[in-house]
């Protein structure tokens, strides 16, 4: 029993490095998803019919395909097809990011649409252009409202990051598997991996809840019932 704990103790630094990889993966994918997702949301909410349809199609594909299939398709298939030799880590961020963009765009679109027309009308009547209104009026509010949904997206991405094991990214689970094949003690190692994920998941969500509290506008949310 003690030897189990000893082994885990010795494995921790190695797993810790894996945690850093995981965090970078998730952070990168979230960021990519954010900068693609917001314009997509704006496009769907305010763009013309063609743009909206195109975006819907993208969303349908990237939400409809399993993460594993997307990773395998891109890493083994598409990238070799266009002769790009991306390391697994970069490919993973790209794929996860593109998928996250699809989900995030829907979160933001929902928030934007829940704000209603009134504010847009008021801003336009003051003389603001559509773009100005979106940037200065709609987005600041929509982004705040989106934080709970976004926090959910974080926890989903964190768990999906483990699937990058399939293309060899050296994140937590891959490293855990590596150790277990050497020590022949899969149970304690995988449980440790699980605990590390638990900490990252709930720790991250806690942080995001704190963020939500910090940026909250007093009295907001009363009318939207």
């Amino acid at each position: 029993m003690i030897e189990n704990f000893l082994m885990i103790y010795q494995a921790l630094p190695y797993l810790f490095k894996g945690s850093l990889i995981t965090i970078e993966l998730v952070g990168g994918a979230l960021f990519l998803g954010l900068i693609i997702g917001i314009p997509m949301a704006v496009g769907q909410a305010y763009g013309n019919r063609n743009i909206a349809t195109l975006i819907s199609f993208y969303v349908w594909i990237f939400r409809g395909l399993p993460v594993l299939v997307l990773l395998l398709l891109f890493y083994f298939g598409l990238f070799t097809l266009i002769k790009i030799n991306l390391p697994a880590f970069t490919a993973a961020i790209l794929v996860l990011g593109l998928r996250s963009a699809a989900y995030q765009s829907q979160i933001f679109r929902g928030s934007i649409q829940s704000l209603g027309e009134g504010q847009m009308l008021a801003a336009r009547s003051l003389g603001m252009s559509k773009l100005q209104t979106i940037w200065n009026i709609m987005l600041p509010q929509a982004l705040r409202i989106s934080i709970p949904g976004w926090s959910n997206e974080y926890s989903i991405l964190l768990k999906d990051s483990a699937v990058t094991y399939a293309i060899g990214v050296m994140e937590i689970l891959t490293r855990g598997n590596f150790i277990s094949t050497r020590t022949y003690k899969p149970m304690p190692i995988f449980l440790t991996c699980a605990i590390i994920f638990l900490i990252l998941t709930y720790g991250g969500v806690k942080l995001l809840t704190l963020l939500e509290k910090k940026v909250r506008i007093p009295g907001y949310g009363f009318e939207r019932r």
């Binding site: 399993p66 299939v69 598409l78 022949y184 994920f197």
Partner: protein
């Protein structure tokens, strides 16, 4: 570049075998996960301290850890303590346990959104807690939970692909084997992708029809 004869003669047969395994997984795990979710949600809301705590611990673990880690524990970890599951069984158990946790959260939210008066009226008529939950609370809560639970079931259709990672040769696994042998990754995974999109669409349509059938004016 895309050779249709390859697709029809070499690729499709094993893929269809894989699809059949995927379908079996889904038909088994989706309802079971939902039922488990109902039990856990009821246990958490109405159970005593111990039961409620256990249900919360269960949900915390299965929602806070990746499905893949859970599958690895079930298939690679348990043998070291003497429990051996076949790949299919390990995958199915993993999916049931994991989706059960997600279902239970949707259902719990729905139960807690039911007005207290419903339980009071049921008890005032003389129903005990069990009857009140079964005949009054759950019929309403489950209807409210349909969007969330439908979401979880379509999600399960996609995550079934992870069964391949514990050597259960479902659709994705079958495809990878062929792709490895013939080095035709793009074609294979495009076809697989299309099949998954089809499956997701079918399941979504089915669940939408179910929701329409169960609709009650004024509920939800």
């Amino acid at each position: 570049m895309i050779e249709f004869s390859f697709i029809n003669h070499i690729l499709l047969p094993p893929l269809l075998k894989g699809v059949w395994i995927t379908i079996k997984i889904i038909i088994l795990s989706a309802p079971a996960g939902l039922v488990l979710g109902i039990l856990i949600a009821v246990g958490r809301v109405y159970g005593n301290r111990i039961i409620s705590f256990l249900c919360t611990a269960y949900t915390t673990f299965f929602r806070g850890t990746p499905l893949l880690v859970q599958l690895f524990i079930l298939y690679y970890g348990l043998p070291s303590v003497g429990i051996f599951f076949s790949p299919f069984t390990a995958a199915a158990i993993g999916f049931i346990l994991c989706s059960g946790a997600y279902h239970s959260e949707y259902i719990r939210g729905a139960i807690q959104s039911i007005k207290k008066g419903q339980m009071m009226a049921a008890e005032a008529l003389g129903m005990n807690k069990f009857k009140a939950i079964l005949y009054i609370i759950l019929p309403q809560a489950l209807r409210r939970a349909i969007p969330g639970c439908s979401n979880e079931i379509t999600s399960l259709v996609q995550y079934s692909s992870l069964a391949y990672m514990v050597t259960c040769i479902e659709l994705t696994g079958a495809g990878k084997i062929i792709a490895n042998r013939y080095f035709k990754y793009t074609e294979v995974f495009l076809v697989i992708g299309i099949i998954y999109l089809l499956m997701v669409s079918v399941v979504t349509k089915f669940l939408d029809m179910l929701e329409k059938k169960l609709k009650i004016p004024g509920l939800g």
